[in-house]
Amino acid sequence: MKHNLILRVISKFMIPLIFLFALYVQFHGDFGPGGGFQAGVIFSAGIILYALVFGTELAQKIIPPRVLHFLASLGVLIYAGTGVASLILGGKYLEYGVLGSNQVAGQHLGILVIELGVGITVMSVMLIIFFTFAERGRPE
């Protein structure tokens, strides 16, 4: 689809909006509908749209597979690390209340960080799945 002008122009316009909406869903997740799962899928949808229109080689130049594998485990590390941090600060595992100066601030901070970890992992795993399938049929 590299020579289709309309698709190229429209997707260049759409991709930043998709990223922006993903970030909104990510960071508004503790006040309204949203959260890490949804934001990660929306974010990866933006990159998958780029890969469909401009080709997987260019998309993999933006996010190389090595970075994706690193991000996939980084998200899990953030999630588990938040639990361990609340253990160190004297609470139970994943007890967000002890993270902040008071109970409410701690809950906010904990949920935000946890959802960030979930979002990073879901985004990178979705892209790993997509790139793995997309590369498969290509002649070497």
Binding site: G32, P33, G35, F37, V122, M126, I129, F133, R136
Partner: protein, 118 residues
């Protein structure tokens, strides 16, 4: 009559579930089998989400004027189930890709014939 009208979400779920189940057992094409499995899965999602609905309840977002909310617990449960569903679909499709490379076909009958002719 009350049994049918009053529990229409259950009947809808049963119809969708059986449609997906029939697709899984009747189709020989492996991709269509996975699509049928996904339809089956969606019926379970709908069952849980429709049970979580509270009559006249608002979406579970805290507002000062709203007092009655839908039950958010099934939503969270099904959110996790959707993510698991994506993972199992990806695994199934990966197996289909591998079968296609080994046998050259994704029709179940052809695969069985090739196995028997060995």
């Amino acid at each position: 009559m009350e049994l049918i009208i009053g529990h229409y979400n259950y009947w809808l779920v049963i119809i969708i579930m059986m449609a997906g189940f029939y697709t899984v057992i009747s189709q020989g094409n492996l991709i269509k089998k996975i699509a049928g499995l996904n339809v089956f899965q969606v019926s379970v999602f709908m069952l849980y989400i429709s049970i979580g609905n509270v009559k006249d309840g608002a979406a579970p977002i805290i507002e000062p004027t709203v007092e009655l909310y839908s039950n958010p617990l099934p939503h969270v449960l099904i959110l996790t189930a959707i993510v698991v569903g994506v993972a199992t679909t990806a695994l199934g499709l990966a197996l289909v890709v591998r079968i296609k490379e080994a046998y050259g076909t994704i029709e179940e009958d052809d695969i069985h014939n090739q196995d028997h002719s060995l």
